[in-house]
């Protein structure tokens, strides 16, 4: 037994109601919330409703199923038939007939009610889902000052509805796959049929079908399994909690993966330049958005480079420092017991610790942490001569710059460390080697067959218009390079 509902695919209902009820009770013998409720249809024919307590909308179930069954009037020649019950008795808006036990079990587990009747070898699955959801809220991690404020919640169906509300077109394709041996999680593949590349859709399905895992509790379980470069620090699938972002990406010919149980929707292919895009870029003036985006690029280079370059300058290339600055650094470093490179690495780790602590603690304590961590510990450490002020400033500046590109946070941390070590060993030559390796790495990555840096493949306005800067909507005439229908509007030339 693998624990999957598919373990029961060779078992069928017997038509004997008592035996069939017993079958379900046996399958869920250690599940205390399974409910079975026997009802007489029209006062004569026995049937049984099977459902999970807490997952169904009791009021809806009472009105559209129980009441309908009890108050129904059966014809004299009535033979128990699911088709008849479905068409003539039930008020529920979604009723399906099935004789497959895995489908019945899946329906029960997903909040539906299964109706089995005496002398019937098939059953009805009735949509009575009614679990509570968190509701539509603005995602904390993707706040905007201007633009839509709605965010996904954990119920995939509601999330799909939010996407569909933005794309009122029959071209929107939504395909269902179930992943996870035990969780059997519904995963929906969404794309616009006329825009998405069929090869990419096919490749995605192939990778999804190869996932062999016990359960999917978040979309990252899938992202890690379908990514092109398993050990890369750079992500090759986008993640967002905002329906407007998903809709925008679908309109660019991308594919979205909506996973039940998480508000995070994956989008793919994902390009390197997307790390520097903000949700708000498209809702404000394009000049301001372009300025912000260029600042983000600059901050990315600052955050990965500043600590390493500083270490290179104060340990290998004193000649590049202005004399007074060299003297100041030398004076402030006096008495510090550890080497500059070690001091720099320690501070980078300290900042990561502070950041992690800040993320995990209650919001009210966040300010206290920044005061204690930033001011008290930092100042005390400098005054005690444990660390020197110049390196503290370099690392702090780098850390602040890093906050401008939150999507690259993990990768930035490792690249910063790598560059510091390279600079400590080889000075600015080390910096050049490390950055060259970084550029080579970035250019070698693919996301679902699309070059990660496809935006920079041709350095002209047409291809750079949504990478280093954001062109005006009037000039956004083409979609990204990887989809089959590139023309967004008018004549691109």
């Amino acid at each position: 037994m693998s624990g999957s509902v598919n373990d029961y695919k060779n078992i069928y209902l017997s038509g004997n109601l008592d035996k069939d009820i017993l079958l379900f009770k046996t399958i869920f013998k250690r599940d205390a919330v399974l409910r079975t409720r026997e009802v007489l249809i029209g006062g004569t024919t026995r049937c049984c409703l099977i459902y999970m307590d807490g997952m169904v909308n009791s009021a809806q179930q009472g009105e559209t199923v129980v009441e309908a069954l009890v108050e129904s009037v059966l014809p004299q020649d009535f033979l128990p038939s699911c088709e008849y019950i479905s068409k003539n008795i039930l008020f529920a808006n979604e009723v399906n007939e099935t004789d497959k036990l895995p489908d019945m079990l899946r329906a029960i587990l997903y909040g539906d009610t299964v109706l089995i009747a005496q002398n019937s070898r098939s059953a009805l699955t009735i949509n009575t889902k009614g679990w509570r959801t968190r509701g539509i809220k603005e995602p904390d991690s993707e706040r905007v000052l201007q633009g839509p404020r709605e965010g996904f919640d954990e119920a995939a169906m509601f999330n799909l509805a939010m996407i569909r509300r933005k794309l009122l077109t029959p071209d929107l394709c939504i395909e269902l796959m179930r992943i996870g041996r035990r969780s059997d999680t519904p995963v929906f593949i969404c794309y616009l049929g006329s825009l998405a590349d069929e090869k990419t859709v096919k490749e995605l399905k192939r990778r999804l079908s190869k996932i062999d895992i016990d359960g999917i509790l978040d979309s990252n379980y899938i992202a890690e399994n379908i990514r092109d470069c398993r050990y890369s620090l750079l992500k090759t699938t986008g993640a967002t909690e905002r329906p407007d972002i998903v809709a925008a990406r679908l309109l660019e010919g991308r594919i979205a993966l909506v996973v039940d149980g998480t508000p995070v929707v994956l989008t793919l292919p994902y390009l390197f330049s997307e790390n520097f895009q903000s949700d708000e870029d498209y809702y404000i003036n394009f000049l301001l958005a372009s300025l912000s985006r260029m600042l983000r690029w600059l901050c990315f280079f600052i955050t990965v480079s500043v600590p390493g370059v500083f270490v290179a300058l104060v340990t290998h290339h004193f000649e590049l420092l202005p004399t007074h600055f060299a003297l100041t650094v030398s004076r402030l470093r006096a008495g510090v017991p550890v080497a500059s490179a070690i001091e720099c690495l320690a501070l980078i780790f300290a900042f990561e610790i502070l950041k992690e602590a800040g993320l995990r603690m209650p919001q009210n304590l966040g300010h206290a942490l920044s005061v204690v961590g930033g001011l008290v510990v930092g100042q005390a450490a400098v005054e005690a001569g444990i660390i020197s002020a110049p390196i503290l400033i370099a690392v702090a500046f780098s850390a602040i710059a890093g906050l401008m590109v939150p999507r690259l946070m993990g990768a930035v941390f490792f690249w910063r460390l790598f560059i510091v070590i390279a600079c400590a060993m080889l000075g600015l030559y080390g910096y050049l080697i490390a950055t060259t390796l970084f550029v080579l790495r970035v250019f070698s990555i693919k996301s679902f067959g699309v070059d990660y840096t496809v935006s920079f493949s041709r350095p002209d306005f047409l291809h750079l218009k949504d990478s280093f800067f954001r062109a005006s909507w009037r000039s956004m005439k083409t979609r990204p390079l990887f989809n089959k229908n590139k023309i967004r509007k008018g004549d691109p030339n």
Partner: protein, 203 residues
């Protein structure tokens, strides 16, 4: 996996064996000016170096060191023997040559400068008639080498001339200009004065 282990080992070996040229700026003397003079085949090197104190709240101190020997190399060794920390020449901005040095000796000074670790090819060559007075002059910032650069830049700005006497220029034309053509820096009554050869004209 083997690749990663190899890279890590290489990095660890390079870091542990100290073969990377890694130095700490505060663990040496930053030389800002160096002077060369010869008297009766006695070679003398005088240099100004900044030493960080061991406490961050105390200012750095400029010290003047001098050594003699049968050659400039010997004079330099004599200075090194006095020190507990190495000399760093990256901040060296000025080479001061006694006006008594002939062309051959200047060539040996240039060779000496080229042999220094991390030679800065932007260092200025100037001459002085009294090395000892010059190095003992109290300057505005307290760092002679730093102030000389300031004086040269100011001179260039106010007189509209370009003093082309940096190491990369001198080494290109060797000693063609000769010591008599070098700008002169002397201390009078505690003030530094820069003068040019050929009546103020300088090419």
């Amino acid at each position: 996996m083997k690749k990663y282990v190899l890279v890590l080992l290489t990095a660890a070996v390079a870091l542990l064996c100290g073969c990377t040229g890694y130095r700490e700026i505060e663990r040496g003397y930053l030389v800002t000016a160096i002077g060369f003079s010869v008297a009766d085949s006695d070679f003398t090197i005088t240099l100004e170096a900044i030493s960080s104190s061991d406490a961050t709240d105390k200012p750095s101190q400029a010290i003047t060191l001098s050594g003699n020997g049968k050659s400039f190399d010997a004079a330099y060794s004599a200075i090194e023997k006095q020190l507990v920390k190495p000399l760093y020449f990256e901040q060296l901005g000025t080479v001061i040559i006694a006006d008594t040095l002939n062309d051959t000796k200047i060539e040996s000074v240039i060779d000496f400068c080229k042999k220094l670790p991390s030679t800065n090819y932007g260092i200025y060559f100037i001459k002085a008639n009294n090395m000892e007075t010059l190095f003992n002059t109290e300057t505005a910032s307290g760092v002679l080498g730093y102030d000389i650069i300031g004086i040269i830049k100011n001179f260039e700005k106010h007189n509209g001339v370009k003093i082309s006497n940096q190491l990369y220029e001198i080494s290109r034309s060797s000693i063609a200009k000769g010591v008599e053509n070098m700008p002169t820096l002397n201390a009078f009554d505690g003030k530094l004065e820069l003068g040019l050869a050929n009546g103020g004209q300088y090419e």
